[in-house]
Amino acid sequence: MNEAQTRQPMRARRSREPSEPPSGPRPRARRLRLPEQTLARHLLLALVFGVLLFLLSISLGAFDNLRMASAAYFFTALAGLTVLTGLNGQISLGHGALMAVGAYSTALLVSRAGWPLFPTMVAATVITALAGVLVGAAASRLRGPYLAGATLALAVGLPGLADRYPGAFGGENGIDVAPPTPPSSLGATFPLERWEAWIACTGALVVYVLLANLMRGRVGRTFRAIRDDEVAAQLAGLNVARVQILAFVISAACAGLAGASLVVVTQIAAPGAFPLELSLSLLTGIVLGGLGSLAGAVWGALALVFLPQWSTDVAQSFSLSNDVQANLPLALYGLVLIGVVVAAPQGIQGALRGIARLAWPRGRREPSTHQEEGDDAN
């Protein structure tokens, strides 16, 4: 083979995808269907998902709209966590507490300070991101089990503040928030549940576009570099602590927005919404869906919405005792998690990717390393 011929297309591609290993040219016919430019590509995808979600919301009943909204806020939180854990390699057992920060910020600003909802949701995101700076600064000094322990303490301790200061945070009773009012232009009979689903799904789509861009770009690469080898990343000139804090801040901001959406849906911020199980099931969700992938976060979110309900239905149909019924969802998470990790260590998304690779053999697909990077963003 003529060497010059082989190298020519290689160089052109490397300029777009610097981390691409030299594995030879491939036909790119399938890729060309989407815009090559990262931002345009993700905006287009978000538009398509937005239309799909819109159609889904108007064709579903009120309760399923609520479930959509729940899946959307779970996705928002999971997407942030999967960037932190899957991409940057930092574990957090405290994301439930960060959601609580977002939720309480929303409730306090709306109910006590009388702010309108949308600026409040932005503010709640910013406030939680600031909390993320603090947590991230501590986290960047900790590794492995110590990081897990510190964030676990956050998950256990932070919701307790509500009980410690009932005057400010309403104690176990929580803070009530009036339901969001759909704009009058949508008509007087527009269902509240659909409006809630729209708000939560818009938040999720915004997070999708931002994170998908981030993951494919320079920041995503630095995250991965540190996850894969801290020393090598440092030698390459990266400030490891700063990048780790940045990852924590981004992920906290997502958790904050998720908490704000949760308040929109449930109309209450109370410690009971943020037990330790929430943090643990968020972590379970990203592992279940597929670590480090936004599509995996979608699967994780669906699992978090549907698994508890199915398990409760199962428990009820077997008329198990109340204590068993209450704990079955967590036990089921555990079982499903074990099953997924044994059968498909890359999570649901990894398994689907494997199936897709079998169905459409390599000749027509991207090389595997490139594909990982490409699909990470989706």
Binding site: L34, L45, V48, F49, L52, L53, L56, L60, G61, A62, F63, D64, L66, R67, M68, A71, D163, P166, G171, E172, N173, G174, D176, P179, E193, T266, Q267, I268, A270, P271, G272, A273, A295, V298, W299, L302, F306, N322, D323, Q325, A326, Q349, L352, R353, A356, G374, D375, N378
Partner: protein, 427 residues
């Protein structure tokens, strides 16, 4: 990737369609949700787990047992009552989820007996906005007692302020001059009761009021403060678990005040069981012996009462695993009132006709006290009889007091309890 995402959307659509199909099986056949020619579907949120579960988790199964008895005797106007109750763990956030599920997915006709002040306050606005009858909340919070703000919501047991006033009157008359301390749940339940006490007992006599948060099991700071303030009389507006925790802590501190407990926190079987569990078998009902309380239903120990006999029979046949105690009686009595309301709502009940029937009032039954239902007053029983824990059971005695939740005087009533009819329903 597009393909995969499309699949996930498809998955949602399929799940949703299945769920909708399952849900619609419950409702169909009539324009009123939850009502068919032969059935009425009602729902409830209950603390089957969590801090309020001991005792209170028996209420819904007892109500279901009563409905089963009723259904076996022909139901109400030919319809069988089907109750589904869901666990909210006394966690307000969960209450919101399960109630929306009951209304939107199960499409229940009405909510019966949703339990708890902190929990139910989070769904009252939703239920009223959705015009779902919210009958006989299992809580005496003064917040239900407002027909103009919440036309679809009705309390059932005495408003906590009424209860507080009657307990306060007892303290004023029988424990005059003694220092009074109040241990209460930090929400509208505890605060409502405290308001009633403060109306009756002179301010100078109340030396300390200590709130607790349900979920935090360390009550030593509160009990120590009450002991330090020198309270000779301790008034508890607590759920059973906190009555037990408070008494165990007092016992450890060597603090022995005269106990006065709200009806909701004193069922001897429940509190005795909790005392045993918390102390690993070392304590029992001896720690609440002599406690003063009040009641609006006949004591479960009063086996000569026709209602107690009926409920005991139903309990033995339909709900034999549960202990025979005040919670079971509560569930059956509240279910009885619901059946009465449904009967009064007419041959083809609608959500509005059910609410109108309760507004009209005139229900009697297992209660010792008359109801206060009218278009404005939605508070349930209007008073109570005083009693005390004797030999591990509640003994009620003396006149039946009635009053309002405002500044009205406490008067005595000579309401007579009717005997239950053959099918379990009167009139």
């Amino acid at each position: 990737m597009m393909r995969i995402r499309t699949r996930s959307v498809l998955a949602v659509a399929v799940c949703a369609a299945t769920a909708t199909a399952v849900a619609s099986c419950g409702g169909g056949g009539s324009s009123t949700p939850g009502v068919t020619k032969t059935t009425v579907l009602i729902g409830s949120h209950q603390p089957l787990t969590g801090p309020a579960a001991p005792g209170y988790s028996e209420i819904a199964p007892a109500a279901k047992a009563f409905f089963s008895y009723l259904n076996d005797h022909g139901g109400v106007n030919g319809r069988k009552i089907n109750l589904i109750y869901k666990d909210d763990g006394y966690n307000p956030t969960k209450t919101v989820t399960v109630v929306k599920q009951l209304v939107l997915q199960n499409k229940v006709f009405a909510i019966w007996g949703g339990l708890g002040t902190p929990t139910h306050t989070k769904v009252v606005d939703y239920l009223n906005a959705s015009k779902v009858p919210d009958l006989f909340v299992s809580s005496g919070c003064p917040c239900w007692d407002d027909g103009s703000a919440h036309p679809y919501t009705f309390g059932w047991q005495p408003n906590y302020t009424i209860e507080g006033k009657i307990l306060g009157q007892y303290i004023k008359q029988n424990l005059a001059g003694k220092k009074v301390g109040v241990f209460y749940q930090n929400d509208d339940f505890g605060k409502g009761g405290l308001a009633g006490i403060e109306q009756q007992v002179p301010k100078s006599q109340i030396v300390s009021t200590q709130p607790y948060e349900p979920g935090n099991t360390n009550v030593a700071p509160q009990i120590t403060a009450l002991q330090k303030a020198g309270a000779d009389v301790l008034v508890d507006f607590t759920i059973p678990a906190y009555t037990a925790l408070g008494q165990l802590t007092s016992f450890k501190l060597g603090y022995k005040p005269q106990l006065v407990v709200s009806n909701v926190g004193i069922d001897p079987t429940t509190v005795g069981g909790l005392l045993k569990a918390f102390s690993k078998g070392k304590a029992d009902t001896a720690l609440i012996e002599g406690a003063v309380t009040d009641g609006y239903l006949p004591s479960t120990a009063d086996s000569s009462n026709a209602w107690v006999q009926l409920f005991k029979q139903i309990h033995d046949k339909y709900d034999p695993k549960a202990p025979w105690d005040g919670n079971v009686e509560y569930g059956m009595a509240s279910a009885y009132t619901f059946a009465q309301a449904l009967k009064a709502a007419g041959k083809s009940p609608t959500r509005q006709s059910l609410v109108d029937a309760v507004n009209k009032g005139g229900f009697t039954g297992p209660g010792l006290v008359p109801f206060r239902y009218s278009k404005e007053e939605h508070g349930g029983y209007g008073g109570a009889q005083m009693g005390a824990v004797k030999n591990g059971a509640i003994e009620l005695s003396g006149p039946i007091y009635v009053t309002d939740p405002g500044n009205g005087a406490i008067t005595t009533s000579n309401a007579k309890q009717p005997a239950p009819g053959a099918d379990g329903l009167v009139g």
